[in-house]
């Protein structure tokens, strides 16, 4: 919150601050402003950018004339220079440390690309990305902010996806191509989630990397699972079974349940007494996910939109409960809002034709506003109620 003189005067007038306190706040804010001149930062950034662009232009313009080994030598020196700079700033937490760390890590991409260009290395795509992940893993574990670990994990997922598409069939001979890809992709996400949950228990380092593994895997599982489950319930086994080979359906049935065996113990092993409720709520969520995505496949059920909708709402509700136990009020609000929107989608699926008429539109608008008001009024009470369970 920006503290202005006007606000301080108002607080003094309302008796919230004394005059001495108001002066102390003003003096403090003034000293902070003196240390952070955004004008100077902006001018400095423009100057550095101009120099960098100038250097890059000269290099790019004379690229062919520079001997290949000179390019490689300069790259190695530059990378080592960045390493030396990082070594100096590593002990001191702050934005400079994180910026130098990011530059050091990203510069490896330039080295890998330059080497591939100089030696005309044919690439399958994933090996370069995986090499970058291996080179930067040590420094990413020391990251004090989120962007670099999250980027690292996303690059790892991309490398894994490329490997799976290109190379996997070499190693899995008794399964079909699609079967092995399905199994590998799904189970690897559960493994990453379990690693993200358990890593903080093993070491204090790599907190942000562990968080990236947990959060991104969780998002992939639940957002992907919600979409997949909706398709499974809307299309039904008869349609899916005729369109897909039996071994694919068979494989898809057991993956979420095996994943549950990875995810639930990881959460329960890691949780302290205080977090036990969160761990159990999340375990229930994983059970709901498995039920939601596999029930029609297990029992050869036909399309059943109502059952699918109810199960999807129960899945999101179980996540909402976990959010309450974890003290994440905003996440709870977001999840209950998602449930509200899902209910509205149901309404439009049933009564969508009414939107063609003026009366239908008015009724729909009133309903949307009513539901939004209900959600706004009662979300806090709902959260308290869940907390007491």
């Amino acid at each position: 919150m920006l503290v202005t003189d006007k606000k301080i005067d108002l607080w003094v007038k309302e008796g919230l601050l004394t005059a001495d306190q108001a002066n102390a706040i003003r003096n403090f804010e003034q000293s902070q402003k003196g240390g952070r001149s955004w004008v100077i930062y902006g001018i400095t950034a423009i100057g550095i950018a101009a120099i960098a662009i100038g250097v890059i232009s000269i290099v790019a313009g004379n690229w062919e004339r520079i001997p290949p080994y000179t390019k490689l030598g300069v790259y190695i020196l530059a990378q080592a220079g960045l390493g030396a700079a990082l070594y100096r700033v590593l002990p001191v937490a702050g934005k400079v440390r994180e910026a130098v760390m990011a530059l050091f890590a990203l510069f490896f991409f330039a080295g890998i690309g330059l080497t591939a260009q100089v030696f005309n290395i044919s690439s399958n795509g994933w090996s370069g990305l995986l090499f970058w992940c291996g080179l930067t893993l040590p420094v990413v574990t020391l990251a004090g902010s989120r962007p670099l670990p999250y980027l690292w994990f996303i690059v790892l997922l991309i490398a894994e996806t490329q490997w799976m598409l290109i190379e996997q069939q070499r190693f899995v001979r008794h399964m079909t191509e699609v079967q092995s890809r399905l199994t590998f992709a799904s189970l690897s996400i559960y493994v990453f989630f379990a690693i993200g949950v358990l890593l903080p228990k093993v070491t204090k380092a790599a907190q942000h990397l562990a968080e990236a593994c947990r959060v991104l895997s969780f998002l992939l599982l639940f957002v992907g699972g919600s979409f997949l489950g909706t398709v499974v319930w809307y299309v039904g086994y008869a349609e899916l079974g005729s369109g897909m080979p039996a071994n694919i359906i068979g494989t898809a049935r057991f993956i979420p349940w095996i994943g549950l065996l990875l995810a639930a113990p990881a959460m329960l092993l890691r949780s302290s007494k205080a977090d036990r409720k969160v761990a159990w709520a999340l375990s229930v969520s994983f059970v709901m996910l498995a039920v939601f995505t596999t029930l029609p496949l297990v029992f050869a059920l036909d399309a059943h939109r109502i059952a699918g909708t109810v199960l999807s709402i129960l899945l999101w509700w179980s996540l909402a409960m976990a959010a309450v136990y974890a003290g994440r009020k905003r996440l709870f609000d977001l999840l209950t809002l998602a449930i509200t929107i899902r209910l509205l989608v149901v309404y439009f699926e049933v009564f969508g034709s009414m939107l063609a008429t003026g009366v239908g539109l008015i009724i729909s608008g009133v309903l949307i506003l009513f539901i939004a008001w209900i959600w706004y009024r009662f979300r806090d009470r709902l959260a308290e109620m869940v907390q007491r369970l």
């Binding site: 490689l72 390493g83 100089v118 030696f119 080179l135 040590p138």
Partner: protein, 169 residues
Amino acid sequence: MRTKWLIHLAVVAVPVLVIAGWIGSYVIHVENSATYELPVRGFDPRDLLSGHYLRYQVDYGQPVACPERTPEWCLCLRPSQPFARVNWQGQCSDAACNTPLKGSCTTGSFVAGIERYYFPERYTRELAIVPPASSIIVSVSGSGKGVVKSFIVDGEPLQDWLQSKAVEP
């Protein structure tokens, strides 16, 4: 304190040493391995450009019998005039020479990682197709890895050939 200092040093130095070693291995490979000159031709009749890379097919002098989905397949090259020729091909474990060229047959044709060559973007027009009488100089290491050292057009390096084309009216 000392442990932390050592960890920080390792975190910074080891990746730099690893990538320097990787680059160094390619330099050693290119400078110290056996080299062969192989003719190349384009895909019929136009060639595909992948970014700034010229893609081509290597002419080994005889058809390469490529069993499908074979992860590793090796060729033994014999230096001869004007170009090297294949005098043996088969499973790498049965290779009849010291430095076979290792490739794979997963796509139905033999691919050894030597099928592309980088060129500067401004020569895209001149290199719309693989120039006639083109060949590559390939170095093959003891492990079977091939690296393209240079691209030759009608006896002269690609760069010189491009510059001579630029000078021509």
